[in-house]
Subunit: 346 residues, 2 copies
């Protein structure tokens, strides 16, 4: 059993909050039968502790273990890894933004109710981020209100786009306004990655497509004026902000060189927003995390692991804890304190 | 007139070689008439020193100034900027990989002959990288041989893909083998950016699409085994390697976590190739260049400017020269010495 040094220390430093973990209900209704059309994910349990996530037309999506749905297993693994609290969110394939808004809302309510139940069972170990039907901002806003007020969840996880529309789409502004008003945290996670026809090998939609999605989402928040319009909205982006940390110089220079093309919605230089938003720590290389610290600020990095998936950090926080050049203040902030700020915890 | 300190110093340090500059002939034949089908770029000169690059169906591509075609203007600007030598390559829209191979070859020969003529006129100020019909590797290899042996050019610039096929396409292996045998430098430049339907605003195909293209190209060189098969091939990637510097951790972790998906063509851990290939310095942020130094190695960064285009570094080398934390050895290497190694100069 791996007991981290930080877990064993007293005071603030012993706490790790993992903001990026995914969960599924063990049983998922067959929504295709219910709604009369397909495209939804089903969970087929196998002998032992594994299950297959499959599309309702039979296409395989992913194999998952029982730590994807069993809170007890999760708590055990958290204990072994020194994680005090996991922030739970659904698996992005469950966003279902492509479906009819009312149907996506029904799926979302099912997932959010389940998630809130897990949080209520283990209120010291789990917090939750809901999912909403982003393709219908009115329904999304209603569900946002319900999950924050009634279910006491911490906020919402959204995808990097919905049906090809970007996160600067004006239809979303009332939703953002309400999230800001409620103090709900927003977590932006890549999904339905662009350019798949160019990424048919080497797991590239996950290795390059996802980081690109996230950089695009940040660009839309910046250039589309979302940060500017909703300055108190607390937003975090997955996977260290994806490839944004490599392109922010180009974005700023492009803004200055060709404002006629770039500054069409927001006249503010993008560098204003560096230090304004959060990213998680899932970058898999100490030098890259150091770079993220410079770009985003030490107070804007949140421990994330992508638990329970293999592309995540298998021992959450180990990389941060291993970096001897980081100060204790930076480490405790990244491991838990920054997450408290982002989530609006006392 | 901006005279850089390095330009005024004696010895090695005074030299700047700018490896990333684009050039066009002043007059371009109307290839659509010649070949009987359209899609090619024409150059329409206006009053004064400007011209419009337009597709032969009339669609506007880009406005350019006379420093795009006039060697005398380029030498003047190089003098003003302390650039000893520009490495010339065509504007990527001229790759024309979508056309018939024989026709692309004819366009390439026209562009390469022009480029070689400019180099011959000013042999101390210009070096050249040719273009080849990548969609027909046999013709590409013949043209590669001609430009190196007969035209004395330094190598070839290629796009990040051809007609949706990647740079690990087996059809290209004989071409890479010949480039390696001839000691020709290879420069990989993004073009025809993926995911345009998701980047309809804010110049995003240039700001995010291009860096993604370049990261994809590096991924194909790594996972497709191109570096492994042709270890002496000297390859440089544009724009600081694009977003690769943000995703290499994810690529390496993905390789380790799911070799069944990632290591299908090459069983070697991708970190082996860090320090093996070159990137140019066009990243527009000192912190990002520092990060590139750690990822790629100080001896693998090449001064590039994207001259004469506004998305480039307008005063070539100024950022490198301004960074007081870099050693003189690192600076002189990035400004010229590393380019000599990449280009195979004595």
């Amino acid at each position: 059993m791996h007991l981290s040094p930080v877990w064993n220390e007293g005071g603030e430093g012993r706490v790790k909050i993992d903001v990026h973990t995914h969960i599924l209900p063990k049983r998922v209704p067959r929504f295709a039968e219910r709604f009369g059309y397909g495209g939804f994910i089903e969970v087929q349990h196998k002998a032992g502790c594994n299950a297959r996530m499959v599309y309702d037309d039979g296409r395989f999506f992913r194999e998952v273990g029982d730590n994807c749905w069993d809170p007890k297993r999760r708590v055990e693994e958290c204990d072994a890894q020194g994680v005090a609290t996991q922030v739970l969110s659904t698996v992005p394939v469950m966003f279902n933004y492509w479906a009819k808004g009312r149907d996506t809302l029904e799926v979302a309510r099912f997932l959010n109710d389940h998630l809130a139940g897990v949080v209520a069972q283990h209120p010291k170990r789990f917090l939750g981020l809901a999912t909403v039907p982003l393709q219908d901002a009115e329904l999304a806003t209603l569900e946002l209100q319900r999950v924050v007020k009634d279910l006491k969840l911490s906020g919402v996880q959204i995808g990097t786009h919905f049906n090809g529309r970007s996160l600067d789409d004006a239809s979303l502004f009332p939703f953002y306004a309400e999230a800001e008003r409620l103090g709900a945290a927003l977590f932006v996670h890549p999904w339905e990655m662009l350019g798949k026809e160019r990424m048919d090998r080497y797991w590239l939609p996950w290795l390059i497509g996802m980081p690109t999605e996230t950089a695009l989402a940040i660009a839309h928040f910046i250039f589309g004026g979302v940060f500017e319009k909703f300055p108190k909205l607390r937003v975090a982006f997955a996977h260290g902000g994806g490839s944004f940390a490599s392109v922010y110089g180009r974005m700023e220079h492009g803004f200055s060189a060709r404002p006629d093309l770039v500054a069409t919605q927001n006249p503010v230089n993008p560098k204003k927003y560096l230090g304004h938003f959060f990213v998680d720590s899932i970058v898999h290389a100490p030098d890259l995390l150091r770079h993220c610290l410079k770009v985003f600020g030490a107070d804007k990095i949140l421990l994330g692991s992508d638990y329970p998936f293999p592309l995540g950090e298998l021992r959450p926080g180990e990389m941060i804890q291993s970096m001897s050049d980081l100060s204790e203040v930076e480490k405790t902030g990244m491991l838990a304190g920054n997450a408290r700020v982002w989530l609006g915890l006392p």
